[in-house]
């Protein structure tokens, strides 16, 4: 039931692009994306809801394929501050729970 994130880790040079994927075997109501830096709290990036609604920060781009139950987070022109572990959380219909993936560790090098 846990969503599968890929890749598990990625190393980029500053300015390069990355795509992080999240895939579920269950029909989803929404997908949430958070970034967590070591020893810190997860920070909200974006929510994508069934039907196409999105809520998030302007500089973050993501997609949600409802048919495939897949979401992708697009990080363009990466900055050093983008480093951290990215988690997707999936919400099923009429359910308060978020089921989280294992995370994708992103390392940005200057």
């Amino acid at each position: 039931q846990q969503p599968v994130q890929s890749p598990q880790a990625v190393i980029l040079r500053e300015g390069e692009d990355a795509v992080i994927n999240c895939s579920s075997s269950k029909a989803l109501y929404s997908v949430h994306w958070y970034r967590q830096k070591h020893g810190e709290a997860p920070v909200f990036l974006m929510i994508l809801l069934k039907g196409g609604e999105q809520k998030g920060h302007d500089k973050i781009s993501a997609s949600f394929n409802e048919k495939k139950q897949q979401s992708s987070l697009y990080l363009t022109a990466s900055q050093l501050s983008y480093s951290g572990t990215y988690f997707c959380g999936t919400e099923l219909d009429s359910n308060y729970q978020l089921i989280w993936g294992a995370g994708t560790k992103l390392i940005i090098k200057p």
Binding site: S30, H32, P42, L49, F87, Y96, Q97, L98, W100, G103
Partner: protein
């Protein structure tokens, strides 16, 4: 404005001891979530409150875990007779509307180590 705060930040307990972890959500936030995060893993849902009502406690791993939010604001997660497998970071998050489909604001977590 103040964010979500948690205390203590670090707790070391001997196996068998009881612990209480506190969460102060953002004022006015209706929803409150508790998560358990093992090292290198994503958060795992423990329980959910809407105001003072505990609407979902399906994630609590055993009857040693108990959570309350008596006045709809501060919440306490209590773990009785702690075991080594309880060692983890316990995260609290709050949200304004009454379901998960909105931004959750996380506290810094309490790192529990059971020796």
């Amino acid at each position: 404005g103040a964010g979500v705060s948690q205390s203590p930040r670090y707790k070391v307990a001997k196996r068998g001891q009881d612990v209480a972890l506190r969460c102060d959500p953002i004022s006015g936030h209706v929803s409150l979530f508790w998560y358990q995060q093992a090292l290198g893993q994503g958060p795992e849902f423990l329980t959910y409150f809407q105001n003072e009502a505990q609407l979902d406690k399906s994630g609590l791993p055993s009857d040693r875990f108990f959570a309350e939010r008596p006045e709809g604001s501060v919440s306490t997660l209590k773990i009785q007779r702690t075991q080594q497998e309880d060692s983890a970071v316990y995260l609290c998050a709050s949200s304004s509307p009454g379901r998960a489909s909105y931004e959750q604001y996380f506290g810094p977590g309490t790192r529990l180590t059971v020796t």
